[in-house]
């Protein structure tokens, strides 16, 4: 295990700050050039406006970038800052990487896997040591010019991490990344996962703040490339403090006969705007996307999702479930996009919302855009309150009202838990949800 804790001075999100960041990063020139290009995109673009469909229900007026720093000079371990790790229990990881305020503070990888050519660790470090791999893939999945947040992320990401699995290598145990954020800090971690043909891996990512009401900023990017016949299970647990602004572009491309099981659990943040896309680019590719959202207070979580069928005979399965408390709000706008020629597509999407208060609001907007003529696409969505008859039934068996609601909420999510094949993840998510349910009248 190596520890690379370096204290940096605080830098602002402005051109002086960015210039100094590039000068001090020690990254290869091609990467510095990429960042510089992205920075100029950032400078040219405006913040997204509510005229754009993805942002129509998003209010950014209270978001002020200058409240945050490009670099926070935070030191110590996650434990030093009381930042929890929820996916650690019951897991024998093949490798672990931890970040604190966007700084890699710990990384490790099984030697036997390193010997097989597996790369796992600090993306900046590996960009320098294995440039041929990182340069080939970095920035090829998420387009930095698509909006101002994507550009800002591409220009300023820190605490990035890569998993590269050579052809035919199957990694039994999960790789685990834990990102921690201190109050008011910035996390701009970038995830790059590449599975070469026939490779297999499980990747667990979690994001945590120290305290439930901590503030901060997350500028995220996830790029996943699954080559022919490869299989990836990817879990992303977001439990930032409820003062954190969370912006992320997450995209996976899945090639011929490859599969991805992508599980999202979003509990934290004040405001979340995530663009999540899966492109099935080779015949016979399959995706299963699962989402668990649990909101409270005045949280707003927005997910714009796309299941893009770019090749024939692909299957995409999508299920998001959200439970909402207090005055919280979720927005899901989901699209199944079938390209011309993607015949025999089998696409499914579903979103169920459970409203636990009269003030909560769930917007659910499924959509289909089909440019092929021999496909099967189905979608559905439901939103409703907890059924009083269910509460009465449980109460008539001795459950208190609160116990009844908690049980019903847990049961509501069970359909997704049933799909999660990793027991430790199931348990961690179950506990995270049970912790959130409050007194409900």
């Amino acid at each position: 295990m190596t520890t690379t804790a370096t204290a940096n001075e605080s830098l602002a999100f402005d051109s002086a700050g960015h210039t100094q960041f590039l000068a001090s990063s020690g990254e290869p020139q091609w990467l510095t050039d990429m960042r510089a290009t992205a920075w100029s995109q950032f400078e040219q673009l405006d913040w997204p406006s509510r005229k754009e469909e993805d942002w129509m229900r998003s209010d950014l007026r209270a978001f002020k970038l200058d409240k945050y720093s490009l670099i926070n000079p935070t030191t110590g371990t996650l434990a030093d800052h009381d930042i929890p790790e929820r996916l650690a229990e019951g897991v024998q990881p093949a490798g672990v990487l931890k970040t604190l305020d966007g700084q890699v503070i710990e990384e490790s990888l099984d030697e036997s896997l390193a010997a097989k050519g597996v790369l796992f660790g600090d993306l900046s470090r590996i960009a320098a040591s294995s440039p041929e791999i990182v340069q080939r893939y970095l920035g090829t999945v998420v387009d930095s010019s698509q909006d101002r947040f994507a550009a800002l992320h591409a220009a300023t990401w820190r605490g990035g991490h890569i998993l590269y699995v050579p052809a035919g290598v199957c990694i039994e145990n999960p790789l685990r990344v834990a990102a921690g954020l201190t109050n008011g800090g910035t996390d701009s971690g970038h995830t790059l996962i590449v599975l070469e043909a026939g490779a297999e891996a499980t990747f667990l990512y979690e994001a945590n703040s120290a305290a439930a009401d901590d503030k901060g900023l997350h500028l995220g990017g996830v790029e996943i490339i699954v080559k022919p016949g490869a299989h990836l299970r990817y879990v992303n647990l977001q439990d930032w403090g409820r003062g954190v602004w969370h912006f992320a572009h997450q995209r996976a491309t899945i090639d011929r006969d490859a599969t991805i099981q992508w599980t999202v659990a979003a509990i934290g943040s004040r405001f979340s705007q995530v663009s999540q896309k899966v492109s099935l680019i080779g015949e016979g590719a399959e995706s299963q996307v699962n989402g668990v959202l649990f909101t409270q207070d005045k949280q707003q979580l927005t997910y714009n999702t796309l299941q893009n069928h770019a090749a024939p005979h692909c299957r995409s399965d999508f299920l998001y479930k959200a439970a909402l408390q207090d005055k919280s709000r979720t927005v899901w706008r989901g699209m199944i996009g079938v390209d011309p020629g993607a015949q025999k597509t089998d696409g499914y999407q579903r979103n169920d919302n459970l409203l636990l208060s009269n003030q909560a609001r769930a917007d659910s907007i499924p959509g289909l855009e089909i440019l092929a003529d021999d496909v099967r696409c189905t979608h559905g969505s439901t939103s409703g309150k907890v059924d009083e008859e269910l509460i009465f039934y449980a109460q008539s068996r001795g459950f208190t009202r609160k116990e009844a609601v908690r049980m019903i909420v847990t049961g509501f999510f069970q359909q997704i838990f049933d799909r999660i094949t990793i027991e430790s993840v199931r348990e961690a998510l179950g506990q995270s949800i049970a912790r959130q349910v409050r007194e409900y009248q």
Binding site: D387, Y393, S396, R397, G398, T410, F412, Q414
Partner: protein, 274 residues
């Protein structure tokens, strides 16, 4: 100690419309009572009101259990005090396994003072007990792993309710048409199961249209409900008479109750929204 469930002059309304119009009923622990009557006479309502359904307004009268005011208790308090109702159409609880549901329920009912978050009955001993009970009731062990009532057939639902009765061992149980929708063999099995679990071990109030469920559970008392009141009470022979000859004689003897019953049926037949 003999427990007593006492219902006195119970008046109940839904949205201002009277449904129960002065029900009196006294049950002792160990007794079996049959509650019969035509559709819409208020039988299920009486059961739901005893169990504490929040949709009913008690406008007059009282329900007490060993002198304690039952109407003051929430539904879960009543369950913990020893009242159980087997529902005619139990709701399904998706995602919650029967075993987990029952373990939590049994813990709360057996330890009425348990606080939220305190430990449940130990998993191992509970599983054994559940398995034994399911064997006794001739139920497939797979049942315990299924979600509560989710996708159950009519017969499975009724047996699941009987299983809950067996696990919770209440002082008083109301069985609301636990025979409806079952074929003859299934009714016989239900009847025998109820007898094995409950006969003489608790107070049973059996709501039924038929005498089959009473085969193994001969009632000491048979009550006939009409128009929201108990208009006649007799012994086991009354149940037999109603089953073989219907309600002709009762209707003729209680024209005012017939009118009340008709009003209630007319009300409930009206469209819900105008």
């Amino acid at each position: 100690m003999s427990h007593v469930l006492k219902i006195e002059n119970l008046h109940v309304s839904v949205e201002g419309k009277p449904i129960l119009r002065g029900v009196n009923l006294e049950m002792h622990h160990g007794q079996t009572h049959a509650l019969m009557g035509p559709n819409g006479s208020g039988k299920s309502t009486l059961g739901l009101v005893i169990a504490g359904h929040p949709g009913y307004e008690v406008t007059d009268g009282s329900i007490t259990l060993d002198g304690e005011d039952v109407l003051e208790m929430e539904a879960d308090g009543r369950a913990r005090a020893g009242i159980f109702m087997a529902f005619q159409r139990p709701v399904s609880v998706p995602g919650v396994k029967m075993a987990d549901f029952l373990r939590h329920a049994a813990t709360n009912v057996r330890r009425p003072d348990r606080k939220e978050g305190e430990e449940l009955i130990a998993m191992r001993e509970f599983r054994k007990e559940l398995k034994d009970k399911m064997t006794q009731l001739k139920m497939d062990p797979e049942f315990a792993r299924r979600y509560v009532n989710d996708g159950f057939s009519g017969g499975e639902m009724k047996r699941a309710e009987i299983l809950q009765l067996a696990m919770l061992q209440p002082k008083f149980a109301i069985l609301d048409e636990t025979d409806s929708g079952l074929d003859a063999d299934a009714v016989r099995l239900a009847s025998a199961s109820i007898a094995e679990i409950g006969h003489n071990k608790m107070g049973l109030l059996i709501i039924t249209h038929h005498d089959k469920l009473l085969e193994h559970n001969p009632p000491e008392f048979t009550h006939v409900m009409l128009g929201g009141r108990i208009v006649e009470t007799g012994g086991v022979e009354l149940a037999q008479e109603l089953h073989s000859q219907g309600y002709e004689r009762i209707r003729a003897a209680h024209p005012d109750a017939v009118r009340a019953n008709q009003e209630m049926l007319d009300d409930s037949a009206e469209p819900a929204a105008v």
